[in-house]
């Protein structure tokens, strides 16, 4: 495999929860929220890697760690081979050009007081992506690449629909010609028909520009559409990782199976999984010891109180479960 574009190596991040002053005086220990714990994966060139999980699983924190907006407590993040925590000055600026993000909320991700043209021209001019004389032309070119006409240049975000705003956000990220695009729930806030448009756009862009993508979503269907590989997160842990087709066909972790089974399929005749996932995810401030999923896992055994091993199957498919092999052999959905 060629050198990966992005490497997440054993990354952990926790946040300290503010204590009430009385608790601090009483000497009670500060509570920690373990947002990300020991996550490890890599994204290759031209690859779309999906990250799926429910709220509180740490995927958004991981996105911000990858982009260098947060520092990991443990582990390293390497972008194009370089450890991003060591970057500063020119190196940091190059990083900002190399990795960009598309946000979830199309309404908050654009400055309401800037025209579309100004929003896209700003990074172009700042990073001197093109000479000043060509900024306007490049802006129009970027807009047409995302399917918006040149008249959009003078519009303000409030005059655009959600789908259009999202396209503007994508055009803005592409302005600096990144190698990696991080999409954090980029289509979740869009209508179904608009979602399909933007998904196709992202797919086309990936191919045409040779972009790598870290696609974060809670929607497995969307990930299956765009991504070649997927990582499943639960309470900060990467519980399963592998090619999308493999993970869907034969999930090796009980949580992945539950997740796949819980998706309501647009097919009235489809059978419902016999046992739904009960209960609620525990608080991220009190992650269970050993396997974090064991409090809800239908296959939990006493051994699950110890940290599960990472079991690897072929084709880069791995899962962190004591019974990964058995779960996988239980077969397709």
């Amino acid at each position: 495999m060629r050198e990966p574009v992005l490497e997440i190596a054993g990354v952990s991040k926790h946040f300290a929860v503010r204590r009430a002053p009385l608790a601090a005086l009483a000497g009670r220990p500060r509570r920690r929220v373990q947002a990300v714990a020991g996550v490890e994966f890599a994204i290759c060139q031209r690859e779309c890697f999906g990250l799926v999980g429910e709220s509180g699983c740490g995927k958004s924190t991981l996105a911000r760690l990858a982009l260098g907006l947060l520092r990991p407590d443990v582990g390293k993040i390497r972008f194009q081979g370089e450890d991003i925590s060591t970057l500063s000055g020119a190196g940091l600026r190059a990083l900002r050009r190399g990795m960009q993000m598309v946000f979830q909320d199309p309404y908050a991700s654009l400055n309401p007081r800037m025209t579309v043209g100004a929003a896209i021209a700003e990074p172009l001019a700042w990073h001197r992506v093109v000479p000043p004389a060509e900024v306007k032309a490049e802006t129009r070119r970027l807009l047409s690449e995302v399917g918006l006409g040149p008249e959009t240049v003078e519009r303000y975000p409030r005059d655009l629909s959600g789908g259009q705003r999202q396209r503007v956000g994508i055009a803005r990220s592409l302005a600096v010609r990144p190698a990696l695009l991080v999409a954090d729930e980029a289509v979740s806030a869009l209508d179904v028909s608009v979602r399909a448009q933007v998904l196709n756009l992202l797919g086309d862009l990936g191919e045409r520009r040779g972009l790598s993508m870290l696609f974060i979503s809670h929607d497995l269907g969307v990930i299956a559409y765009l991504c070649a590989r997927v990582g499943v997160m639960y309470l900060g842990h990467l519980v399963e990782c592998g090619p999308v087709s493999e993970v869907f066909r034969a999930p090796a972790h009980p949580y992945t199976r539950a997740l796949i089974g819980a998706i309501p399929k647009p097919d009235p005749g489809a059978p419902h999984p016999a046992r739904p996932l009960e209960g609620e995810p525990p608080s991220a401030a009190a992650v269970p010891e050993g396997c974090p999923f064991r409090t809800r896992c239908p296959s939990a055994q006493p051994v699950c109180a110890t940290p599960p091993p990472r079991v690897t199957f072929g084709a880069g498919h791995s899962a962190a479960c004591h019974f990964a092999t058995e779960i996988r052999n239980q077969g397709a959905n």
Partner: protein
């Protein structure tokens, strides 16, 4: 688009009270600048016609020294307009800057600024201003200094609160992510979105500034005689209020009308700036 259509289009899109308020304020400015050119001196005395009620020659009547109240009120217009602006502008700039920095950077800056705010807020505004003026000496200049020293806190609070909200929004994050330095994020992205609340507050603060100036004038701590500042005229007319109520009534009315003009403008500004329609 012809000029008339442009004006028509703009007029249709702007809130009505904004247009009305702006028009009134423009009228006041015209009055304040051009009025004095058309009238005689505000200090011209005519003892033969002292304490006369309103008439054709003296539309607002005369005071005890025979000075026409109308002339004095018109001459005083620019003073009170200036009072309104100069009490607000320094506080606005100082306070908004400190609030923006405190909200964006947090940490030591925020702690220092907010503790200063706490101290200033602990004392009644009018009392502090009077105390400072008493130390520095009466006069409008010192009043402006006194107000600037304590008036900035409201603006600091408002802008800090708005900045705290805005910096979490994705477009601020996107700007940082695009590699833009802090100063650019602050000035180009956060400031335009954060300042409207302070501007709206300023438009009503101006009214308070005018009242403050007039009150201090009334107390003898603001403008000094023979300045035709409205508060002073009211003070002058205080002893004659039973015989010649017009002396105090008309400048009082003028203050109210000026305050209404600013109030309409401020409301209109709030309507215009606040509902940035989301969908």
């Amino acid at each position: 688009m012809s000029a008339a259509t442009t004006v028509g289009t703009i007029g249709r899109r702007l809130p009505r009270n904004l247009v009305l308020g702006a028009f009134l304020l423009a009228a006041w400015v015209v009055l304040a600048t051009c009025g004095p050119l058309l009238l005689g001196s505000p200090s011209a005395m005519d003892l033969l016609h002292a304490l006369r009620p309103p008439s054709l020659t003296f539309p607002f009547g005369t005071d005890n020294l025979g000075r026409g109240i109308f002339t004095r009120v018109v001459w005083g217009a620019h003073i009170d307009l200036e009072i309104g602006l100069f009490t607000v502008l320094p506080a606005f700039f100082i306070g908004s800057t400190l609030g923006l920095l405190a909200g964006y950077f947090g940490g030591v800056i925020e702690t220092v600024v907010m503790r200063l705010v706490d101290i200033a807020v602990a004392f009644p505004f009018l009392v502090i201003v009077i105390a400072i003026v008493a130390v520095l000496g009466p006069g409008l200049g010192n009043m402006y200094i006194a107000v600037a020293m304590v008036g900035w806190v409201s603006y600091a609070r408002i802008t800090r609160a708005e900045t705290l909200l805005a910096k979490r929004l994705e477009y601020a994050e996107a700007a940082r992510l695009l590699g833009l330095p802090d100063r650019r994020v602050l000035l180009r992205h956060l400031l335009p979105n954060v300042i409207p609340q302070a501007v709206i507050y300023a438009s009503s603060d101006v009214i308070l500034g005018i009242f403050l100036g007039s009150s201090l004038g009334f107390l003898g701590l603001g403008a000094q005689p023979p300045s035709p500042e409205w508060g002073l005229i009211i003070a002058d007319g205080y002893s004659f209020v039973d015989r010649a109520p017009w002396i105090s009534a008309f400048p009082g009315l003028a203050i109210v009308l000026l305050a209404i003009s600013f109030s309409l403008f401020g409301d209109g500004l709030a309507d215009l700036l606040r509902p940035e329609t989301r969908r």
